[in-house]
């Protein structure tokens, strides 16, 4: 039906996405037809209680899982109809992942971790790409720790490396799964400010969270319930500023 879907100006378009899987002879309908668009430059928070299909949607959006039916348009390609290898290519070229647990590779340095998605694009790194990795590390404030290992960094620093890594392939969107879930409020604020800055620079961000304070900082909130879209609303600038001010005021005093 959507062979001629208009994709210009969209980071991705989700059309009637359904996902079912069998668990102990019982069919679980995790997604029961979800449709929404993410225009380029958007900053969307996906919310929902556990069991709402939030994680499933995240996996499908991240091209780690395939829907039972429906379409996921990334540019002119429907990721719902792709093979395992094609999905891997999409992940390395069009998606930037940020995880709750940072998920850096322990045996690699900061700069090598940032390079990993480029490594799987199957071409040797060009000098420009190397420079870009350094620039990204500087951009997230780790220009002086290029050769550190993840274990030598704090949680906030690791998450910033992960954000730099998510940007290295110049993705269609950043997909952040509870990126502040493991962080204290001060570092949470750092990360959220970084996201805001990236969004202001034109990056599209999809952020999965269950915290209202975090979701209020996004431009738009999509809430799932029982595998369906519950609501999809725009956060007014006042709501966002209010949330930012509130976070700063309630910052614990540094001892």
């Amino acid at each position: 039906m959507s062979e001629t879907m208009e994709t210009d100006g969209y980071a991705c378009r989700v059309v009637d996405l359904k996902k079912e899987y069998v668990l102990k002879s019982e069919t679980v309908r995790a997604l029961r037809g979800v449709t929404f668009d993410i225009p380029v430059g958007d900053y969307v928070a996906i919310m929902g209680p556990s069991g709402s299909g939030k994680s499933t949607l995240l996996n499908v959006l991240g091209c780690l899982d395939q829907p039972t039916s429906g379409s996921l348009w990334l540019g002119n390609d429907d990721a719902a109809k792709m093979s395992d290898d094609e999905l891997a290519d999409i992940r390395s070229q069009r998606i930037g992942f940020v995880f709750q647990a940072y998920n850096l590779i322990q045996q690699l340095t900061v700069v090598e971790n940032i390079q990993v998605p480029l490594f799987y694009q199957g071409r040797p790194l060009s000098p420009e790409q190397r420079k870009r990795c350094h620039d990204l590390a500087k951009m997230v404030g780790l220009g002086d720790r290029l050769d550190h290992r993840p274990t030598q960094l704090s949680g906030g620093q690791q998450q910033r490396v992960a954000i730099a890594r998510s940007l290295v392939n110049d993705p269609y969107f950043i997909l952040a799964d509870e990126p502040t879930g493991n962080l204290d409020s001060r570092t949470t604020e750092e990360i959220l400010q970084l996201f805001e800055r990236l969004n202001n620079e034109g990056r599209t961000i999809i952020l999965v969270t269950h915290e209202d304070e975090v979701s209020k900082r996004a431009k738009r909130v999509v809430r799932l319930k029982d595998g369906r879209l519950q609501w999809d609303k725009i956060n007014s600038q006042e709501v966002r500023d209010e949330a930012a001010r509130y976070a700063l005021e309630n910052m614990p005093v540094e001892v």
């Binding site: 780690l64 899982d65 395992d84 992940r91 992942f97 850096l104 590779i105 322990q106 690699l108 799987y120």
Partner: protein, 441 residues
């Protein structure tokens, strides 16, 4: 290419996360590869030595030896003549066309004397061809000539050791040695170079060491000493009547040796009842020795292969543990765009790095085999001199000879071991569901 290089770098880094574990795994392959090279080199060394000894008998020769028959075959009174006869020698030379030359030989124990220096040794009556067939070389003078044999001259040729013992100061050539049993003097006409022992062959031929030999023309021996030898032993007389101890036949061509041996056996069939001769064919022994050596090497190679297998299982074991341990990393890589084949490549490269490190170090250590054995022997000789003397000759003198094919072979096998034992862990890693792998703690 850059991809592979990157993967190799990454593999080394990952392995270096657990240096002890990786080194122990490498050690397994190292021992396997080194033992392949060592065991093959040592067994080849032993085989070569045996072969060299047999070859020194001459591959184109056939030896017919007189052996003492079992006592029940000898008559109880008087002396029974036995063994090869001169008549048979003439018959063999005349009737077998494939024989190029034939040497009659008569040997006996004798005492040699010069001035007051005495030596017990072996007196050998032979013809000039003997020197060529047994590869005797001269340091001075000449070997027995046809003319000397024909004239029954009392001339002799000394082996190196006899010359050294009897003539420590003088030049032996031109001197006369004395044989007290016969009260005869022999003029020394030649001195031989030292020569190594030949192989002992079954019961029919003791190892000949040639070191205490004195050679004279056979016709001289026949005239001066005769066929009957009486010796005094513990108060009673003992004796033997033998015309010839050995006939060495040389065939025109190596390919005719077997046929000739059959003819000889048929011609000397009359001896089968008495069991007083033995036919020795070095060519057959050589072939036997080759077969034995091949089997020995195969056997040793299999032992080494088993240790390589054990090393390979060690690799697989470690890689399986690593895959489980690094489930999370696999998930991350898959999420960031790694395909299944990228994961397979990563783990196969790691196992190959392990096995090739073991392989290369094993080969280097294997190449040290020769010097290491020499050094070990020198040390053992200085510290455990007595115990070393009790060891068999083979153990004391073996010189490993590295089989050239074993080097690329060992390298190839270690690579194959790494790949074969790496495939299962690698595919297991690649088959993981990235979502579950990411959730793994």
């Amino acid at each position: 290419m850059g991809l592979w290089l990157g993967t190799i770098q990454l593999g080394v880094k990952s392995l270096w996360l657990h240096p002890m574990r990786s080194i122990l795994t490498v050690l397994g392959i190292f021992i396997g590869v080194a033992s392949v090279i060592w065991l093959l080199a040592i067994s080849k060394g032993i085989g070569d030595e045996a072969q060299r000894q047999i070859e020194s008998l001459g591959a184109d020769t056939i030896m017919i030896r007189t052996v003492k028959p079992p006592s029940e075959k000898m008559s109880s009174q008087g002396l029974t003549p036995y063994g090869l006869t001169r008549e048979e020698y003439d018959m063999l030379v005349a009737t077998i066309p494939t024989v190029r030359s034939a040497i009659p030989i008569r040997e006996m124990r004798r005492q040699f004397q010069f001035k007051n220096r005495k030596l017990d040794g072996r007196l050998v009556g032979c013809t000039p061809e003997y020197a060529e067939v047994t590869k005797l070389e001269l340091t001075s003078g000449h070997f027995i000539t046809d003319a000397e044999n024909f004239a029954r001259d009392c001339h002799c040729v000394l082996s190196a050791k006899v010359a050294e013992k009897l003539f420590p100061y003088e030049d032996p050539v031109g001197q006369r040695i004395y044989m007290p049993e016969n009260q005869d003097f022999y003029l020394v006409v030649g001195v031989l170079k030292p020569k190594g022992a030949t192989a002992a062959i079954g019961g029919s031929m003791a190892a000949q060491d040639f070191s205490n030999d004195v050679y004279i023309p056979i016709r001289t021996l026949q005239q001066r000493i005769g066929d009957t030898i009486m010796t005094m032993r513990s108060g009673s007389r003992e004796g033997e009547i033998i015309e010839l101890n050995q006939i060495t036949l040389r065939c025109r061509d190596v390919t005719e040796v077997k046929k000739t041996a059959e003819l000889v056996g048929a011609a000397l069939d009359s001896h089968s009842k008495m069991e007083d001769i033995a036919v020795v064919v070095p060519l057959e022994l050589l072939e036997q020795a080759r077969t034995t050596r091949a089997m020995f090497m195969l056997f040793m190679g299999m032992i080494a292969a088993i240790s390589l297998l054990v090393g390979g299982i060690g690799i697989m074991n470690i890689m399986l543990a690593t895959v489980t341990e690094r489930t999370r990393e696999i998930g991350i890589r898959r999420a960031l765009g790694a395909k299944r084949r990228d994961i397979i490549r990563q783990f196969l490269v790691e196992t190959s790095v392990l096995s090739l490190t073991g392989g290369i170090t094993g080969i280097l250590f294997g190449l040290l085999c020769g010097p290491a054995v020499t050094m070990a022997r020198t040390l053992a000789n200085t510290w455990f001199e007595k115990q070393m003397m009790d060891l068999p000759e083979v153990v004391r003198t073996v010189q490993p000879s590295i089989v050239p094919e074993s080097i690329p072979g060992a390298f190839f096998i270690s690579l194959v071991v790494g790949l074969v034992f790496g495939i299962y862990p690698a595919t297991r890693a690649a088959k993981m569901n990235p979502i579950e792998a990411l959730r793994h703690e």
